[in-house]
Symmetry: C2
Subunit: 342 residues, 2 copies
């Protein structure tokens, strides 16, 4: 194990150890290590040397206790597979700067009791702030009022409009998707969405519908709502082809749905993208890159969203903070499944 032999009892070096070895007081040692002024260059060197020799590592607990801030934040999620919370965590780590702030990741697994438990633990650990990541874009209940650290809600907005929430702009994303298909020369666009109970599905549909209308195009058939699954994509695509054989593009509610649609199209002998263009949502790489052809998809820029959330939290920690729901732009990642018509 990494622990050096015999160091079990050797308690880790403290600042007074360093000071003693350097022949100075703890105050001077502290100042030297923190690049405070009013300490002679030579003295500073002695202290740094001693610290290195003892492989001294300042006790963040003590520092946090004194400073009243711990340099940690909590990331509370309900997103089992980490599909959304992990990119957000990465973005947050980026924004905080590596090592400056450490992140407690807690998964409540959709359980309110467990969530309260985690929040309590985080408050007790004196986190400087909290990022709450929902599992869908539907509004979620705000945290208890007892939490008196800043909270930023990411991906899913808080139900309380006084909270700050940062969410992907799904309406605009739907619009962008349709505009991309139109730019590829498509005019008979069907929309196979996901679960109607999800606001993400409805928002994307709203944006897509608006874009169609603005372009003066009729939607091909009704929007099909179902589930976020490949099976639904396969089934729905079959229906669309039966009723509207003239379709030349299918916008899908998720990459999983799109995979199902691709399956059915191939079975029915429709070439993608030559006969029909297909677009997914989420840009889940394992699905989009593995598809044949590779799948054009809307990326929600979750990492950027995480960075934004972290920055917002940072602002909220020392200054006063924003309120309300802020949206983040999505972007389209173009792959082989959409292409201009010749």
């Amino acid at each position: 194990m990494a622990r050096p032999t015999g160091s079990r009892g050797a308690r880790t070096a403290t600042l007074s150890d360093v000071a003693k070895l350097a022949g100075v007081s703890v105050a001077t040692a502290s100042k030297a290590l923190n690049n405070r002024n009013h300490v002679h260059a030579q003295t500073r060197a002695r202290v740094l040397d001693a610290a290195a020799q003892l492989s001294f590592s300042p006790n963040s607990l003590a520092r946090g206790l004194l400073a009243g801030r711990s340099g940690t934040v909590g990331l509370l999620t309900s997103d089992l597979v980490g599909r959304f919370s992990l990119p957000i965590l990465m973005g947050a780590e980026d924004a905080f700067g590596a090592g400056q702030v450490s992140v407690f990741l807690c998964d409540a697994r959709g359980d309110a009791i467990r969530e309260r438990h985690h929040v309590q633990a985080l408050v007790s650990r004196r986190v400087d702030g909290l990022i709450v990541v929902g599992s869908s874009t539907d509004p979620r209940p705000a945290l208890a009022d007892a939490v008196d650290v800043p909270v930023v809600y990411a991906y899913a907005p808080s139900e309380d409009p006084d909270d700050l929430s940062i969410v992907p702009d799904n309406v605009e994303a739907g619009r962008m998707a349709v505009e991309h298909l139109i730019a590829c020369g498509r005019t008979r666009i069907a929309h196979i969405s996901g679960d109607r109970d999800y606001s993400a599905a409805r928002d994307r549909v709203a944006g897509a519908t608006a874009a169609l209308e603005e372009a003066g195009l009729e939607p091909v058939g009704q929007v099909s709502y179902g589930t976020w699954s490949e099976g639904w994509g396969r089934a729905a695509a079959g229906l669309v082809l039966d009723r509207h054989p003239e379709v030349d593009a299918v916008l899908c509610g998720s990459d999983q749905v799109a995979r199902g649609v691709l399956d059915t199209l191939r079975e029915r002998g429709r070439a993608v993208p030559d006969d029909v263009a297909v677009m997914g949502f989420d840009n889940w790489e394992v699905l989009t890159v593995g598809a044949r052809p590779q799948l054009t998809s809307v990326d929600m820029n979750l990492e950027e969203l995480g960075r934004a959330a972290a920055r917002a939290l940072f602002d909220a920690i020392d200054d006063e903070h924003d309120r309300g729901v802020q949206t983040m732009q999505c972007r389209i990642v173009i792959r082989g499944s959409t292409a201009p018509l010749n």
Copy 2:
């Protein structure tokens, strides 16, 4: 925001506030809140009441400073997508008991510099232990010796045999997979693996080969090594069908490969599972459940692995610890892609 109005300046309640409100000393308040004896029931009630009134939350930093342990552990990963580290995190949370121990999740993104940075930060925060999750099952360099907290390596073993590592038993998993196919009445089993550079691939092949041999079966063709992708699965399956049309089962190196294999089989008109059984590896639900038919796969029990790692870390924190590489059993999740031959 969750912070109550005007509480910005109102520093969070401390134990002395509680004590003052309850009309006792801090010592008594502490004892009352921690269920120590030698405190009158009535007094305890007064203290609890006061604590509730102030929504008092004990400062873990102070407690940790005094106790010499922080009640936190670090989970250091390089696994970008969280495919492996998240289930392990969940298992660890389970084993530690919700709220008892909080987990710092750090992603080094495969960068040694960043890893050192994170380790330094974690040591500074006085984590009680460290779980290191690799991104593949290949051995990875041990952490620097300067880390004097217990470390458990999960998924990827440490190169240092004196460290404790907990990894999935890929050899046994390969064996189990073949035995399952044999139990389904298959005798002409091809093996399309993943990247030869991964020990996971080689180990599974070793187990599978051994199982075939023990059953007195000849492998169908050479093991095909390639990449962990759908594209490779599609291509390799084509080759196998060309050269060995008699094949009645394909064992795949990953679920992605298996998805590609399924694709090609359908194109070539081979029914799954009636003509050919297909098995994947990893049990990545988005791939296995979406497939048609649903994909039988080997699950590496990562959550259980996380629990084991957490338990091992727990043991290592107070007692002396184990060393060496321990393996965890995998299990087969049977779905539609494998079935007994009639």
